[in-house]
């Protein structure tokens, strides 16, 4: 289920780890701190989608509208 209350400290540590250890995209603590409110906002909107049943929906990985 959606968890919209993201713990700031845990999020900061997690993002730092993802960027440094997984993405190979280390950024300074200042930059990460500056981005954190936006990251929280984006993740909150993304986690809201967990409420929706997408089990029958294939991703639009190649997006082409149907005429």
């Amino acid at each position: 289920m959606a968890n919209r209350d993201l713990n700031s400290d845990a999020l900061l540590v997690a993002c730092d780890a993802v960027l440094r250890e997984i993405a190979g995209y280390p950024i300074t603590p200042d930059r990460l701190n500056a981005a954190l409110p936006l990251i929280r906002e984006i993740l909150s909107a993304i986690r809201a989608m967990d409420e929706l049943d997408v089990s029958a929906s294939e991703p639009m990985t190649t997006f082409r509208p149907v005429a």
Binding site: I27, L32, I42, M49, L52, V54, F63, P65, V66
Partner: protein, 470 residues
Amino acid sequence: MSGALPPSIREARDGIRSGALSAVELMEACLDAADRLDKKLNAFVTRVDREILLQQAADVERQSKAGIELGPLAGIPVAIKDIYFTSDLPTTASSKVLAGHRTNEDATTVTKLRQSGALIVGKVQTHEFAYGPTTVNEFAGPSRNPWNPDHVPGGSSGGSAIAVATGMCLAATGSDTGGSIRHPSAFCGITGLKPTYGLVSRRGILSLSWSLDHAGPMTRTVDDAAFMLHVMAGFDALDPGSIEVPIPDYVEGVGQAPVSLRVGIPREHFLDLVDGEVRKAFDASLRALESFGWRIEEVSIPNLRYALGAELAIISAEASSYHREMMRVRADDVSSDIRKELDSGMVLLATDYLLGQRVRRIIIEEFRAAFQKVDVLATPTIPIPAPRIDQKDVHIAGQAISALNAIWRNTYPVNLTGSPALCIPCGFTEGGLPISLQLIGHNFDELTLLQAGHRFQLETDWHSRMPPVA
């Protein structure tokens, strides 16, 4: 021609061909408007030299007098958003990172515009890298709304809208990933068309988000948009998203208004948070549509509340992927608001990106179901009038909401679906700021949208007003 309404593209085309209108004088009027207003409004990044443009306009006149067949936009002054490649002008995306950057080639659409005889007057400001709805930039400075320079012009195609609204050109190009053609068109009181994804080539246009980016025209009137779309549309094998479909004659067809039209009003999302003056203008617009004999009915798109998550997952991941290498080496030269966006997209999970794409399919299916019942959907383009440049929050029905979130609330869902969307002026606030109506159509049925919008403009005069600054 200070403050005078510029001719429509149709009037200019016919006038130049008959000799009743001088292409040179038309160009001089546009250049004079830019000379007079650009410093105040910050529309242009780069302008083409005056003498070159007057020479090009004189060439058009000579060709016309010599009986040489002219292209459909011969002699029409057109501005190009500064993310479209141009062989003769830098393409900077209004960013310090790309200052002076030259591509030495034209975007496919720029090639088409040149071949049509359009005269490119310069490159116009965008929110940096097209990643924002205001065109208030740290590096390039704030662009300003011609109806009130203390307010934002909207973005990201802000320079395009300012230039069209003030007569610095007769048309401009824009791009739209979450509403970037429609926001500035709405805030500056002009017409904007986001065509169906795949109808207009994206080749040679800097990307923000590959699967959400659309290129399209921004003009004073719907009739003008038909001229621009007619030139810009068409299959391009060099654009992986391009789709080969028959292209109708928009220029000839735009005047044939549908006798009957079913207009759907979405029950969810689009009218949930709307400023009072915007709602009043929207309701008046619906009454006008009804007076044409068109039927208004409610439709349901039940899962729209998940569209924001899908849009953010997709745009954030795709934009950060596109700019990844640049951010490794030039992040310090990127404006702070854009740097935050691009850093944020780096921490998203691949599974969340795909969740967004799965939700996107559900929303597309719901739009398709709605379009079984109606021909177009109508919504306010933006729920609020243009906020002040320094304004962070707006209040709607006593509820505080971030201005940035309010601006794109009614536009981003249509980037997910790829549907065509036309925005047209439909009123003004008491403070003199434009209000806009959005019409959303079936995929690749731009013609019906243009016909409906043109019919609206035949009966209203919101599109025929010049900003006081002009």
